[in-house]
């Protein structure tokens, strides 16, 4: 059983929901990313999604686009990110999942990507521009090494598509709360409840909800229906605003703690 499966089994027993945070590796630099991961673990985060920055992130809104640009400029690439993860893995126990675009994975070589990621201590991958029908090679390589492949489900997915997404997903299923790109929203669409219920009827695998979730109140609402809550852009904003400040870790911790409390209903 890999770290992700263990996490969800444990949380289920505790009747708790997973708190997942996305940060872009290399924003503001890889050293700080390593330290941020350790801080996130101490401050209520159950799983970290590490973004490998891509020049053309077409599923992302302005916040993560900017983070990706900063990260690329800081010199982050798959190789340097793997080295960072390798050393961070010695300090943290939480599951780590890569999130990146398909060109980077296919350019690196799918088998090597899975092998090297697994060896560095990464537990799975999310590729937002790779629907399950194009993912045969990745799924095959990942299965061999117990490496999770998390696919995305959307409000526009048909039942047939949801069934396939659920069948192909390992680790968890990423439900995209809205039609749109990543980024904070003041309001989340009202059809989330119906759509998550629809998905949960199809599968027993954990369903985590992301895109748009930006404050404790929204996180609380999501935690009622899903197995996990994913927050990205809202955390990136805190990193962006404090990138050069000594208080970077303190500010990020404070924010993730508030989200954790929201999820736990405290």
């Amino acid at each position: 059983m890999n770290r992700i499966d263990k996490l969800f089994t444990k949380l289920k027993k505790q009747r708790k929901k997973a708190f997942i945070v996305y940060i872009t590796a290399g924003d503001p630099d890889l050293k700080k990313t390593g330290k941020l991961v350790a801080e996130l673990e101490k401050n209520g985060v159950d799983l970290v999604e590490l973004g490998i920055p891509f020049s053309d992130p077409l599923a992302d809104g302005p916040t993560i686009q900017r983070a990706s640009q900063r990260a690329i400029l800081s010199g982050a690439n798959i190789k340097s990110i793997l080295q960072m993860v390798h050393s961070v893995r010695k300090k943290v126990k939480l599951p780590l999942v890569f999130m990146t675009y398909y060109n980077l994975v296919s350019h690196y070589g799918i088998k090597n990507f899975v092998k090297d990621s697994k060896n560095a201590g990464v537990d799975g991958v999310i590729v937002p521009d790779l629907p399950p029908e194009e993912a045969k090679e990745l799924i095959g390589a990942a299965k061999k090494r117990d490496f999770a492949t998390v696919f995305l489900a959307a409000p526009t997915s048909t039942k047939k598509r949801l069934k396939n997404i659920a069948a192909k997903s390992r680790g968890f299923i990423y439900y995209v709360s809205l039609t749109g790109v990543t980024g904070t929203r003041t309001r989340l669409p009202s059809d989330i409840i119906k759509n998550v219920k629809r998905l949960k009827k199809i599968t027993k695998k954990p369903v985590c909800v992301g895109f748009g979730v930006s404050n404790p109140k929204q996180a609380r609402r999501i935690s009622h229906l899903a197995d996990g809550v994913i927050v990205g852009s809202a955390v990136i904003k805190v990193i962006e605003e404090n990138a050069k400040s000594k208080d970077l870790y303190k500010k990020v911790s404070k924010f993730t703690n508030s989200l954790r409390k929201g999820i736990d209903g405290k």
Partner: protein
Amino acid sequence: MRKRYKLPTRSGYFGGFGGKFVPETLMHALEELEHELKKALKDKKFQKAFGYYLSKYAGRPTPLYFAERLTKKLKGAKIYLKREDLAHTGAHKINNTIGQALLAKKMGKRRLIAETGAGQHGVATATVAAMFGFVCDIYMGTEDIKRQSLNVYRMKLMGARVIPVEGGSQTLKDATNEAIRDWVTNVRDTHYVLGSVVGPHPYPFMVREFQSVIGKEAKSQILKMEKRLPDYLVACVGGGSNSIGLFHPFFNDKKVKFIGVEAGGSGIATKKHAAALLKGEVGVLHGSRSCLLQDRDGQINIAHSISAGLDYPGVGPEHSYYKHIKRAKYFAVTDRDALRGFRLLSEYEGIIPALEPSHAIYHLLKLAPRLQKDKIVILCLSGRGDKDIDIVKEHIKFE
């Protein structure tokens, strides 16, 4: 009987190229589009409507013109120009936008969005939006807004909103990113009118089908004029829609050679060019697997070309396939030589071409003189040059 060309496959592949690499949110829309498209292609009523607008609105068929003086000048093969510059809005782009607008109407969409580089596709989309009554938003890089300001104004005159894109290279690639982001957000009521044979399946297939009118007309015209098929077809390749449109109907005529001309920018030995087929590696961008300019890490390189319409780091998957199976040959022509082609056609034929086909025109200087006088070359003159006058003014000065 020869085997018929049946690509793409059901999953949208031309050999190893193509596919559907998009966020899940768009997958259903692509399935729906494919379904409607396949129905429409078999539907006589749809074909009749498409033909009607192509003829009565866009002014087709466009002439196949024998460029007599240019032929004499180059002292070789007979040169024919397929005059897409004479189609309504001044380029071949209108063929595709009419087709897609008719489909969007059938699918009940109320809004059209598009990316544009040179502005020709943006103008063609704004045009059909005005004619059919769609709301219309066009994404365009700020660099292109500057260099193609005439087309920006034309789009606005027809009621479209032109949304400037600041990100990245501020050109076609980034406009496409932004258009896809808009589509992901508004997919329920919006149709994305992609302007070239790029993007996820069924776009490369759909745009080819709508642009094939170029090659079908050219074929019947040349058979009438010369009583035989041409020896060469020549066209510029950015994403590759005018070239595929010309080439595709001749695919099974194995004696007809295809030549695609990419934008060589400052030269393909430099980093400043847009020659994805000649210098790219296979990768995935904007929804399909094809040749792509990228760096060691797989980050997309910024393309460079004097012509905004060719200034794109990728190329349609069917071109990658044509190159792979050696059905077509590809060359690159630099910015400087494209300007020479621009001038050549203006001075010898009284036709001011767009900078995009000017690349292909320059290639004629290399090709035509070494061919015998009874050989026939058809060049796709994909658009007119009015939009480029401001750029050309900076390079060609008169006393």
